[in-house]
């Protein structure tokens, strides 16, 4: 999508260049990444699992793009809001 209104266009350009960080939606133990660097993802692609006690939460990519890096390892404690993966976003 091409937007021509000045300020909005700047925002889109910035998003295109920036990597999106997928943040942990809750504190828990990082079970595993379901994708590796290089994988192409859609917003609803499951990218990771966080476990709290016996309860698993699936984390979605949230954006469309390519996984650049998985930032945490299986078994790590991840805090609320901690970046889990970097995704290079595609242009809208």
């Amino acid at each position: 999508m091409e937007l021509t209104v000045g300020s909005i266009r700047i925002a889109v350009d910035r998003a295109r260049r920036q990597a999106h960080q997928v943040a942990a939606p809750l504190l828990g133990i990082f079970q595993e990444a379901l994708v590796q660097a290089g994988a192409r993802v859609q917003p609803d692609t499951s990218v990771a699992i966080i476990r709290v006690m016996q309860d698993d939460t699936v984390v979605k990519a949230g954006v469309r793009g390519t996984v650049l890096q998985v930032l945490v390892s299986s078994g790590d404690l991840v805090e609320y809001g901690q970046p889990l993966l970097q995704i290079g976003m595609e242009a809208l």
């Binding site: 809750l26 709290v52 309860d55």
Partner: protein, 464 residues
């Protein structure tokens, strides 16, 4: 066994307080914070902090799984819940046990027993502790009518399953009974999922007196004297003091003894408080409930006894026997604590979050301030409004009141409204000084136009 690293699942002044106690015992601290408290004073003081969820406490400070997993994930061997939040939630104790963590508080079974008014009352009776005349299992109107006829009006209806004054109804006239039953049942059901009521005689001229207890896992239990918390507003304590010199000595001794009997009877471990209601007209006392946690007003007892209650909690939780004997517990002087809240008392105690521009505490040999505030701190709107506890000690009550007045005058807080002007006015009242008050007194005082006028426009002292 000794504790090496403790996760503190709380915020505000009590988080700071627990960190200091841990540090004194060479225990490392990990603070569980919500997103709103990442930059709090306690987060800076702790060895590490870990964000357990968003500002909303239901998703952070009340999240049992997040707290337990955060503790294990950061290598802690114990969890201190502070007060409020999960402090009296047996599920946290269960989760800790399951994950090999020590819960710093009573056993989950004790928390469950004492959290249920019906069970707590039965256990008190079994330990020979007097309870308020009433009935503990009223599920239908017919039964309520019979109970009311038996114990006589006025009566109090409460939710059997919960505390905090929710679902509470007072009935003074026979014809109001049905409507009160319906309201109380509905509220109890909405709040706790259980409409069963607990009915008791209403004691109109009451003092609230509570005994501090401490138990270890070897069956030893002590009392550390009592606190008088008669000054309350909407079931929130405002001023606490100890010892309860306004209650006859004979009654105080019996209350202390009753508290220890109950503690021994339920094999109470860790710190707790046995609350009593004292009927000033009949000079009787009755069991109210047990708070299975460290309490906000614990510094009153610490000031009088010289015993660090949070350190004792940590030692007992680590499995150590109490080193103290009852005869070694001595209360010296008279202590008063004022709760300083971010509230505009002249505007129906409206909460007043915001940035604190000036924060200057009173200083002195007889003054203690427990707080998490500092100049520039932003009081978040998500949590309770307690800013600080001001504790003052003197040789006797009159001297302590005088010192408290001076300390309040020196407390300079600007940027947010506080209850300091309200507390100042309360301490001037002849009824407070003489001690001729009851648990409803503050509710009456705040309806006096004269009293409220003295607070109005006086919110931020010394402002130029």
């Amino acid at each position: 066994m000794s504790l090496r690293r403790v996760l503190i699942a709380n915020r505000g002044e009590i988080a700071v307080r627990i960190i200091r106690a841990c540090r004194a015992l060479d225990i490392e601290t990990v603070l569980a914070v919500s997103e709103a408290d990442r930059d709090s004073l306690a987060a800076g003081l702790a060895d590490r902090s870990v964000c357990i969820g968003p500002a909303r406490s239901a998703a952070s400070y009340l999240n049992v799984g997040a707290v337990a997993v955060a503790a294990v994930g950061t290598g802690c061997d114990a969890v201190h819940p502070g007060y409020g939040f999960l402090a009296e939630n047996a599920a946290l104790g269960d989760a800790c046990a399951k994950m090999g963590l020590t819960f710093i508080g009573p056993r989950p079974q004790t928390i469950r027993e004492m959290g249920n008014k019906i069970q707590a009352r039965a256990l008190a009776l079994r330990a020979g502790v007097p309870v308020v005349p009433g009935s503990d299992h009223v599920a239908d109107y017919k039964r309520l009518a019979a109970v009311a006829a038996d114990i006589g009006l006025p009566i109090l209806l409460k939710a059997a399953a919960g505390g905090g004054g929710r679902g509470m109804q007072i009935v003074r006239r026979r014809r109001d009974l049905r409507r009160a039953f319906e309201t109380a049942t509905a509220e109890a059901h909405a709040a706790f999922g259980d409409g069963t009521l607990y009915v008791e005689r209403l004691i109109e001229n009451a003092r609230h007196v509570e005994v501090q207890i401490l138990g270890d896992r070897f069956g030893k239990a002590l009392h550390l004297g009592e606190r008088d918390c008669t000054l309350q507003r909407r079931h929130q304590k405002i001023i606490e003091e100890g010892p309860a010199t306004l209650v006859p000595q004979r009654l105080r001794e019996r209350m202390r003894e009753a508290a220890v009997n109950l503690a021994v009877g339920v094999r109470y471990e860790n710190a707790g408080t046995v609350e009593f209601i004292v009927d000033q007209d009949t000079e009787q006392f009755f069991f109210l409930e047990v708070n299975t946690r460290i309490q906000v007003e614990h510094p009153v007892t610490e000031t009088l006894t010289g015993i660090d209650l949070v350190q004792e909690q940590l030692r007992v939780a680590a499995g150590a026997p109490l080193r103290l004997e009852q005869a070694q517990v001595r209360l010296t002087g008279h202590a008063i604590e004022c709760r300083i809240n971010a509230e505009a008392a002249d505007q129906h105690f409206r909460p007043s979050p915001g940035r604190i521009s000036v924060w200057q505490e009173p200083k002195g040999a007889h003054v203690r301030v427990d707080t998490h505030c500092y100049p520039g701190y932003v009081v978040p709107p998500f949590y309770d409004s307690l800013l600080a506890k001001l504790i003052v000690v003197g040789a006797h009550r009159a001297q302590t009141i005088e010192r408290m007045r001076a300390a309040l005058d020196q407390f300079d807080i600007r940027g947010v409204d506080t209850t300091v002007p309200f507390l100042r006015q309360l301490l001037m009242r002849p009824e407070y000084i003489a001690g001729t008050v009851n648990t409803r007194w503050i509710e009456e005082v705040v309806t006096e136009p004269d009293f409220m006028r003295r607070i109005e426009g006086n919110q931020q002292p010394c402002q130029i």
